[in-house]
């Protein structure tokens, strides 16, 4: 690890101001950043911890929406979202291991946008809104490819607002080594139709499987997916799975999510 300054601001404004410094970097749960720094693959001049920002860690259900503070840990979501949004709680409870879930945060996960992260699938499948210190970003505009988001310099995720689906399910097929998703699908039965988001599979990061969405919107049953196959082009191919295999798993995981709900 290279030397860096560390600060723990007690307000969002202070954090934003500090972030203006060149090579300053926000620290949320640190589950990706700290290992990267230990390997000297990242060298921020200053780390700005979000731990002491007030009202940054909460799960709040109001009517048809569930709002989660940017600094909320996976564990907190898995416990506190259970009654309002069980599909999301179940996802959060299966991220990493207990140590990761006790440190990692939803804001950190979304800002990083790892192509195999879990949360982006739920955010995209529900059409959630990413709320920052400056604006509100719809999910369909937020994710812009592997490790790339709509966030600008100096922008901090303060909360995520989910429309609560009528029913939802996250099915994950773990990569054998990292246990990140090799392919995972979030199926959300929303008021206006069904949305399906896929993580882990694509070289472009999380994406929606529109053919499955149309079929499931017409008929919400596993049978509706018969004959649908996601193409293999653009899918990640590595020592754990070929693109063709990942494409196949998209179908299997989507079907299992629907079966779970029907």
């Amino acid at each position: 690890m290279y030397d860096f300054e560390f600060m723990k601001p007690s307000s969002l404004d202070e954090a934003v101001a500090a972030l203006a410094e060149e090579d300053a970097q926000l620290l949320a749960g640190g589950q990706t950043l700290l290992p990267t720094m230990k390997q000297r693959l990242a060298m921020p001049s200053k780390l700005i911890s979000l731990k002491d920002i007030p009202d940054f860690s909460y799960v709040k259900a109001e009517g048809d929406t569930l709002t989660i503070g940017g600094g909320t840990t996976h564990r907190q979501v898995s416990e506190e979202a259970e009654s309002a949004f069980p599909g999301l709680a179940s996802l959060a409870g299966r991220i990493g291991d207990p140590a990761v879930r006790n440190r990692g945060t939803i804001g950190g996960s979304l800002a990083n946008n790892d192509p195999a992260a879990c949360y982006p699938a739920a955010v995209l499948a529900t059409g959630a809104t990413v709320i920052t210190n400056r604006r509100e970003i719809p999910a369909d505009e937020y994710f812009q490819g592997m490790f790339t988001t709509a966030l600008d310099e100096g922008e901090i995720i303060t909360a995520v607002r989910f429309p609560i689906p009528e029913a939802s399910r996250y099915e994950k097929f773990a990569q054998p080594a990292s246990r990140f998703p090799m392919v995972a699908c979030f199926v959300a039965k929303m008021n206006g139709g069904v949305r399906v988001a896929v993580t882990g599979a694509s070289e472009e990061g999380v994406f929606r499987w529109s053919e499955a969405e149309e079929a499931l919107t017409a008929t919400f049953s596993a049978d509706a997916l018969e004959g649908l196959a996601h193409p293999a082009n653009g899918m990640i191919s590595d020592i754990h799975g070929s693109g063709e295999y990942r494409a196949h798993l998209i179908g299997v995981m989507t079907k299992r999510a629907v079966l779970h709900l029907t």
Binding site: M1, Q39, R40, F173, P176, A177, S178, F180, A232, S237, D238, I239, H240, G241, S242, G243, E244, Y245, H248, L249, V252
Partner: protein
Amino acid sequence: MPKDGGIGASTKRREDVRFLTGTGRYTDDINLPGQAYVHFVRSDVAHGRIRSIDPSTAEGMPGVLKVFTSKDFEAAGGIPCGWQITSRDGSVMQEPKHPILAEGVVRHVGDPIAAIVAKSREQARDAAEALEIDIEELPAVMNMREALKDGAPQVHDSLDSNLCFDWGFVEENREAVDTAIREAAHVTTLELVNNRLIANPMEPRVAIGAYDMAADSHTLYTTSQNPHVIRLLMGAFVLNIPEHKLRVVAPDVGGGFGSKIYHYAEEAFCTYAAKVLRRPVKWTSSRSEAFMSDAHGRDHVTKIELALDADHNFTALRTETHANMGAYLSTFAPAVPTWLHGTLMAGNYRTPLVYVNVKAVFTNTVPVDAYRGAGRPEATFQLERVVDKAARELGIDPVELRRKNFITEFPYATPVAVEYDTGDYHATLDKVLEISDWAGFDARLEKSRARGKLRGIGLAHYIEACGIAPSNLVGQLGARAGLFESATVRVNATGGITVMTGSHSHGQGHATTFAQVVADMIGIDASQVEISHGDTANTPMGMGTYGSRSIAVGGSAMVKATEKIIAKARKIAAHMLEASADDIELKDGAFTVAGTDKSLNWGDVTLAAYVPHNYPLDEIEPGLEETAFYDPANFTFPSGAYVCEVEVDPETGKVEVQGFAAADDFGNVINPMIVEGQVQGGLAQGIGQALLEACAYDDDGQLLSASYMDYAMPRAYDFPMFKVDSSCRTPCTHNPLGVKGCGEAGAIGSPPAVVNAVIDALHRAGHEIPHIDMPMTPNRVWSAIHGGAGPDKDGETMEERSVGA
């Protein structure tokens, strides 16, 4: 003897108190005054010529004490290899120099080029980034068959080729085997890969060198399974330090699995640099470094042919294996695919003719050496797979085919040079069929089918040669070392005992089991016996722990030393009791004149030995301390039968182990609980090899599985509860405890059981797939079922595959 603490008692592991409370003392816990830190600059290319190294910037960095390159080691020897193999044509193996730091050429990713010593670890690392190294990248050769072709890139220009040796065993049987296979009623052929593994002990390697100027003596603290071997190899062959001026300490060591047997460059570096710099020098491997510098395991590509007569008797076996040596010869590397592999190819069967050919090949990869089982898992895997395949081809029960060919009379001289002293293969088979509920499989199959899952059951037997090894025999086979073991039993005045053993415990629980043996022999409480190991300064010369040898060889040395103690104590007691030594009985810690009530406690006698007022000083010396060296008459031959039951998800190809049963014959067992723990750990590693673990390189020699993000370590939740039984016992006939060793069995017997189970599941569902290479990842199994693309390269055949499959 105390019922709860002697031989056969499942005493809790006394060492666990300190391990579980964070008070173990591992090498990295040792910090010496004034210690400096070394960072090794390692090659990031698989093959390259070092054009220049400019240390000037790095040398001027804060805290930097010295930048070392190969120039600093011109007087030092290379890292030696401890075993020499002779090829079929009578020539000895090609043995390239293995320098401490690369001499002009780097030969694998991770090969150390330079070493920077600084006052802090971070300063050393900072300076490493400023070190200017110009490397001309050369073509790398990763694949063994490619490496043997004309015109292939040469790993070592100094050698004739990339072929280390071409070994035939038993060469005299070659023609007879060929004839038998040609004339057989049936021949089953199988080509397979034994996947390259990385040992991944929980504790990475650490070395600290220290030099005492006043005494002109060196100390090396290191994570080793055998400190005396390191002292001998490093002192005599690398740094020219006489053994009386070199102390090697291997304190608590957090797992080895073979990877900590070998003498590594980092150990020699720290020892040498400490003298140059006149201050201790410490190296702690990062996990990333461990992946590219710890010796890897396995990596064999094999073709095996089994010939059977019309009555299904095995008539001949022929194997051809390419064994990857990596870029240099690690300490015991040549022994693994040869004497630890070829000699086990008879397995549990009466096959009269066996011929084994092994071509060992240099490639631009990390050196490969022994990993838990070492050669024996490779032998067992191919044999038990081909036997299973033969049963399937012939349409007969795999259980019955094995039974029909079992060796049943002992001692049994195999056609591959070893003699099994005891065994009862039907007994372990019967036991494993019982505890696995083999008979109840069909009902479980129906339940799986109802849930849309495929289910299969697989059997595998194993035989292993442990308790290595008779020194005169291994000397003839090319070993450059003896393989005896030693123990000093020091009885203190008040009766407590310290045993200094040459064996080394790095997870095996010697502090508990060894104490049980001595306590049992004397009849005192095990708490009266302390086991000391791991420091050449206070233990007799020993060869360390590997090859399931500790209780069989080290334990035997301890028994011999304790017998000497008892004999002497009996003479002292006889004098004190005014009786003949022949009439003195030792029972429950008391010396009694037979047939009388005249008796002395153990402590009375030991006190007399050190306070010899009433003592036969004209006949025996005072004191009570004895040393014994034990060289085994033969290997020991643990054996067993394993059953694995799996479910396969046909949609994803994912394999779940539903049940695993192990019935082992370890001969006599000292501590059944510790033995069960050893088997469970071995099973986890063996099942891990079968389903998860693979070291993978790309064509350019970059290590793809370079962290836990890509190297799949098994987790507890990957396994069901194992059923482990060691009640079948045919005691070893040639060591005093009748023990055989248990450390490696689980890793040897389990991979073929798992693969047999998966293949069985697929066949029962109508998928006639002859074989799937390990690890049987979901993608590979899915591709086998559905024909879709696997994780391997398009159109890649078995022959083209070597590293990491």
